[in-house]
């Protein structure tokens, strides 16, 4: 956030962003429940990084979405866009009421990002494996113009099975795109099963290094580590940076965590209320799981 100029201690910043991430998760669950469909798992795993980027790191002007010197963010795992919508609404790119139109006919908040309909969206994505190529193109344009803005691109681990992504990775490494920062949201689960069981992408750190990237590996749910990694990426030296962010799919809602069933299914009203209670810290994970089991039994 460009306008955030006041002095804020590191501790305060970490605490503020942790709270922002918590609020984004709550908003996300509400949005998906109202929409009746969507992808909770991958939105929740990305929440901490999205909070750190949108509510701290990215240079943006919500009142001027097309500001030429803005940083660009491309969500290559486009199905997880609701968590970004929540951040954009928090920044007033559009009114908060619009969040509740997610996935509805005529809404700017399409099921997958649409740059022509929604302010603050840089690129339409949703066909996995394509976002990094577009982010690379933006970074090349920035290099040609000698611009100071940077491009950030978030990838999924399941998505890392797609060939085009590695074409882009090879290009960015070869051309030393110092104005490009990738984030791998390694949440371990894809639609049908765990990533290791579908098509293991490890050793993914070695892959990125061998493609000419600097890799920073973090616990993606530790806000201090998230911030340190983003700060470290400020000094790109001679190559693009990939932050391998180890995360948990469904993070924050115990009964969604690492469960492929919650890849692409929205919680119903009762489930959403329960998830929000857990996110708000009103109940423990254990209580939440028990009540979820009870709800599931009651439903059958």
């Amino acid at each position: 956030m460009e306008q955030r100029a006041q002095i804020e201690s590191r501790e305060d910043l970490v605490e503020r962003l942790k709270e922002e991430a918590r609020q984004l998760r709550i908003t996300d669950i509400k949005m998906l429940q109202k929409a009746g469909s969507g992808h909770p798992g991958g939105t929740l795993s990305a929440a901490d990084m999205v909070a750190a980027l949108y509510l701290h790191k990215l240079r943006l002007r919500p009142e001027e979405p097309d500001w030429p010197d803005r940083d660009r963010f491309v969500l290559s795992k486009g199905h997880c866009i609701p968590i970004v919508y929540a951040a954009l609404a928090r920044l007033r790119f559009f009114p908060e009421e619009q969040l509740w139109t997610l996935r509805k006919m005529g809404s700017p908040l399409q099921g997958h990002p649409d740059r022509m309909r929604c302010p603050g969206i840089e690129a339409a994505t949703g066909s996995l494996g394509q976002g990094l190529s577009m982010a690379v193109g933006m970074a090349v344009a920035g290099k040609i113009d000698g611009a100071s803005w940077r491009t950030f691109c978030m990838l999924g681990d399941g998505e890392s099975q797609a060939g085009q992504l590695w074409e882009a990775a090879m290009f960015a490494g070869k051309h030393g795109l110092t104005n490009l920062v990738g984030i791998l949201d390694q949440n371990q689960v894809q639609q049908s099963d765990k990533v290791v069981n579908i098509l293991d992408i490890d050793p993914v750190t070695k892959k990125w290094e061998s493609f000419g990237w600097r890799v920073i590996e973090i616990d993606g749910h530790d806000m201090a580590q998230v911030l340190d990694a983003l700060d470290e990426a400020d000094d790109a030296r001679d190559r693009p940076t990939m932050i391998v962010s180890h995360t948990v799919k469904g993070k924050g809602v115990s009964w969604m965590e690492l469960n492929p069933d919650w890849h692409g299914k929205a919680p119903d009203e009762k489930q959403a209320a329960l998830a929000i209670e857990e996110l708000e810290g009103k109940i423990t994970a254990e209580e939440s799981r028990e009540r979820f089991e009870a709800l599931s039994k009651g439903g059958k």
């Binding site: 030429p68 660009r72 649409d114 740059r115 022509m116 840089e122 690129a123 339409a124 994505t125 949703g126 066909s127 394509q130 990094l132 190529s133 577009m134 982010a135 690379v136 193109g137 933006m138 970074a139 090349v140 344009a141 920035g142 040609i144 060939g163 085009q164 074409e167 882009a168 090879m170 290009f171």
Partner: protein, 308 residues
């Protein structure tokens, strides 16, 4: 002087490339696509992507979203092969990308089927906001590239490997979306695009010797197509023949059929000449004879349609 439209493209790109908003992308075919000419003059805006066409399409989209006009070229079959990336990254994003597919059709000759783009027009035409342009000679290609320098939106430009005769005057003006009437006539309308315009003209010469009056139309903009000129031709002539170096499904012939059917030009028979196969090695001339898109086939189709 006969010239391949890929050569005219390469030359024109150097000129329009003086404007720093233009960036050219290559997938290791710069000597075939003739974009090496741009690289020599503007190396700082030439992006070598390697043999990775999907990434090339995506990088072109990213450049466009950051304000550039991105010209991505490859053999047309390799571009069309990335249809889904084109649909998502270029089309849906309304990115200012020019997809420049050279080596279109069976006209490439010796290299054979794997290099022959025969479905590319059908694929690109199906994308809602993708315009499709196929020039027929040197001057038309040069003017089309100049026009595209400032055009807004995604465009597919289809170009030939083989040389094509000059058919337009030196002072030719390119009008986007407007078919060119190269010769007027009232018995039959012969409609070509790109490499087959010269076949249509030669067929008209042949028919003239038999006292058949043939109108020849050059449809350089396949999309948006010039419905008005096509319907007028169908109403004023007794038969319409289309000829294209592309599959008969989804290309020029289909586009013309859609227009004529919708306009209700009944009574005028439409014959669609085009390729119905994957092609094979040979010379352009041999292949145009074999696959039924040469001047003699056009003339024969006209005679048959007129009941002669």
């Amino acid at each position: 002087m006969a010239k391949a439209t890929r050569e005219s493209f390469g030359e024109a790109l150097v000129r329009v490339g003086e404007d720093p908003k233009h960036v050219v992308l290559d997938g290791d075919l710069m000597k075939s696509n003739m974009t090496y000419l741009f690289k020599e003059q503007h190396p700082e805006r030439f992006v070598e992507v390697g043999i990775a066409e999907s990434n090339m399409v995506g990088v072109a989209a990213g450049l466009a979203l950051a304000g550039k006009v991105a010209w991505a070229s490859s053999f047309s079959c390799f571009l069309a092969g990335r249809l889904e990336t084109i649909r998502m990254s270029v089309g849906y994003n309304e990115a200012n990308v020019r997809l420049c597919g050279t080596h279109a059709g069976i006209g490439i000759g010796d290299d054979g089927a794997s290099q022959m783009a025969l479905e590319d027009v059908a694929a690109m035409r199906a994308l809602p906001n993708m315009d499709v342009i196929q020039p027929c000679d040197d001057v038309e290609t040069q003017r089309a590239v100049e026009y595209l320098a400032d055009h807004v939106g995604p465009v597919f430009l289809r170009l030939t490997r083989q040389k094509l005769d000059d058919m337009n005057p030196e002072d030719y003006r390119f009008e986007f979306g407007k078919a060119v009437t190269l010769r007027d006539g009232s018995d039959v309308a012969l409609i070509g695009t790109g490499a087959t315009v010269q076949e249509a003209l030669k067929a008209a010469d042949e028919l003239a010797g038999e006292s058949v009056s043939a109108r020849v139309l050059n449809v350089h903009t396949i999309k948006p197509i010039d419905a008005e000129t096509l319907v007028k031709a169908a109403r004023e002539c007794r038969a319409v023949i289309t000829v294209e170096d592309h599959n008969v499904l989804g290309g020029l012939g289909s586009a013309v059929a859609e227009v004529l059917a919708a306009a209700g030009t009944d009574g005028t028979r439409l014959t669609v000449l085009g390729v119905r196969d994957y092609g094979q090695s040979g010379t352009s001339e041999e292949l145009y004879e074999e696959y039924g898109i040469s001047a003699s086939h056009v003339a024969k189709a006209a005679r048959e349609a007129l009941g002669g």
